[in-house]
């Protein structure tokens, strides 16, 4: 029985056993499931995606009617998930950067306050905060009938915020072209200026020029012909407001909760990143006569960025996955729409497979983008 002690035989044996086990379990489950589904008269396959949905979605990032297909409903869910995640990541990062720098403040009072902020957010479950924000909005704000008229056309009530909607009637494409063209030109100028600064060692005003190039075409367009903007003002009826742009309380509560949770994480990441930069860098920079703010901007932050990016990627992945808590307060994200679809068609397996697949695909995309950026800023050894 010498072959039992042969390493190569053992390696193959273990692998065959492992794969065989997985295949066996998978096959058994598949067989039972198809038997069960047939018995309960549940259809299989993805045909249901093309059937009309028959339900409305209260808040849709892309247009949706009850007569549209279920497939489109799921697309709306994806768009809503992406929308709230992107906004939360953006606001959370800006806020978190400020809090993280406040935590490093030389003023102990401010540093302590920032610490309390971070601890309060990190030690209480996000779901609890979402429930809390949502019920506070519902409780504190008046019902629609007595909506607060903050500014002309701006109404705040417990069914959300209604603001005038702007429609760019003519010259919309010209505006878009100016914006994109300006952005591209600004980016190129910025890159060239940085390259020149690195080559010559002299600071230039690349950033300012780039900002000018970014804004100039739009301003020029505005000065030359102005764009005719149509405003859709909401009007207060007896029971509801019609027209305008409606920001619902579910969305506000979710965005607020997610953004705060991102900000606490970002604050910790920024603090850890700044602290990880060698103290000698501060001292060397001070010895060269740089002020504290300049030291931070030119010496410390670029080095901290390398440490910050991997955990920041994790935070963005987390907020994207956490947006699925939307279902708890009724914001129609991917999971909530899928849940409705599941209840309506009974096709749980296909629906769950779809939304897990979407999450996986988007997670991998975020990872790839952030890895590319990480490789871009990583320290290049000679």
């Amino acid at each position: 029985m010498t072959f039992l002690h042969d390493m190569r035989f053992r390696a193959y044996f273990y692998q065959v056993v492992a794969v065989g086990f997985v295949v066996l379990v998978g096959w058994t489950m598949f067989a039972t499931a198809s038997g069960n589904l047939a018995k309960q008269n549940i259809a299989t396959g993805f045909d249901f995606l093309t059937r009309p949905a028959g339900f409305v979605i209260t808040e849709a990032a892309i247009a949706f009617e009850a007569t549209d297909t279920i497939g489109r409903a799921i697309l709306v869910g994806i768009a809503n998930t992406v929308k709230v995640s992107l906004l939360a990541a953006f606001f959370g990062t800006v806020l978190g950067l400020a809090v993280g720098i406040a935590r490093m403040s030389r003023n102990p009072l401010l540093a302590r306050l920032a610490l309390v902020y971070v601890e309060l957010l990190r030690n209480v479950p996000l779901l609890l905060y979402l429930f809390l924000w949502y019920s506070l909005i519902i409780l504190i704000l008046p019902p629609v009938k007595q909506a607060l008229n903050l500014l002309p056309g701006v109404y705040l009530s417990n069914s959300g915020l209604v603001v005038p909607a702007a429609f760019v009637e003519s010259g919309g494409y010209a505006l878009l072209a100016c914006l994109l063209g300006g952005a591209a030109a600004a980016f190129l100028i910025r890159v060239a200026a940085t390259r020149k600064r690195v080559a010559t060692g002299r600071s230039n005003h690349g950033g300012l020029i780039a900002l000018g190039v970014l804004l100039a075409p739009v301003l020029l367009l505005w000065l030359v012909n102005g764009f005719s903007v149509n405003w859709d003002f909401p009007t207060a009826g007896k029971f509801r407001l019609t027209g305008g742009l409606h920001v619902r309380p579910e969305f506000v509560a979710l965005l607020f909760g997610l953004a705060l949770s991102v900000s606490a994480n970002v604050a910790e990441i920024v603090r850890a990143g700044i602290q990880a930069v060698n103290k000698g860098q501060w001292e060397a920079s001070a010895a060269l006569g740089l002020a504290r703010g300049k030291t931070m901007r030119l010496v410390v932050l670029p080095q901290a960025l390398r440490i910050i990016i991997p955990p920041l990627t994790n935070t963005y992945l987390t907020v994207f996955k956490n947006s699925s808590l939307a279902i708890a307060i009724g914001y129609p994200d991917l999971v909530m729409v899928s849940n409705t679809v599941m209840n309506q068609t009974g096709q749980a397996i296909e629906t769950i497979a779809i939304f897990m697949g979407v999450y996986l695909a988007l997670s991998i995309t975020i990872s790839l983008v952030m890895n590319w950026y990480n490789a871009h800023v990583a320290l290049k050894e000679r």
């Binding site: 273990y14 990190r122 019920s135």
Partner: protein, 364 residues
Amino acid sequence: MADVQMLALAPPQPAPTAQRLGKFSAYFGTPGNTIVSLLSIAGILFIAKLAFGWLVIDAVFSGAGEACKVASGACWPFVAQKLRYMVFGFYPYEEQWRPLLALLLLFGACGVSMVPRFWSRNLLLAWIVVILPVLYILMAGGVFGLTPVPTTSWGGLPLSFLLSFIGLTLAMPLGIVLALARASNLPAIRVLAVGFIEIVRGVPLISILFMATVMLPLFMPDGVTIDKLVRAQVAIILFASAYIAEIVRGGLQDVPAGQHEAGKSLGLHYWQVMRKIVLPQALKKVIPPMVGLFIGFFQDTTLVTIVGLVDFLDTVRSAIRDPEWQGIAVLEGYLVAAAVYFTFSALMGAYSRFLENHFRTTHA
């Protein structure tokens, strides 16, 4: 979700120039600093006044919902009347000493397990063979003359703690095996492990809970039903194991290859090398981030309320929605819940900082 609080564990260092300033000038050294200090003080005073007014001055301390409706402050009778329900849920009233005892036992066992001196394989074994079964018997009953209580009546704080602690204790061995499989040089096993870990980490916990509660019953043969609580528990274990595997993998990568080679040259086979040489070194390194992970999962168990289990957050919410108190005590209820979660999370956070120091001094 699964918020790996690794960064919070970075060794605390003083801000580069903060320490050189005197006490007074730290607050009022420059005009800018003075403004920041004054604004901070004003902010603190404002919040303190608001909180004190709400919690004490305008608060109602006795009476029923009617009294609270008129007052603008906190409604303490709500908390007094509902606390027991919030903690134990619908567990039979006369039997509530059992979940209480289970909680105390759990706290005691955790307290002992937190002392690094007691760490051993036997402790993990004791958890799996003694502590968890005793907790289960206390909760479920049915033996030793204890009235059986179905899991559908379990709820509140004991449920939250059981879900997170049993989940993490059982996810630990699974996560270690997954990490070893991922580091294995057998390609098929590595691919299976990577696939499992990446899929689980790429989707939200709620989707795995949905799978366990909505989809899994379709995969069961006729007549076989698995308790909903068990299904959610298995989902949490599988979810946690993928994250634990990633942390353990970091620890494994830190063990130099020479350790494996030395073990092999001594004639040890794979499992001996792992058990006696590599894992002890790897696991020691990952304990602090692991505690951070545990804090995240303790908070994540609140998600089971979405699939209809009655955890602590859920009992608090149904207490708030009780018709007798409807719309009166929303803030009070959530504050009680937040205080409980905050206390336990902050305790675990403090513990992870303690471990950080402990390992720094002994293994510098």
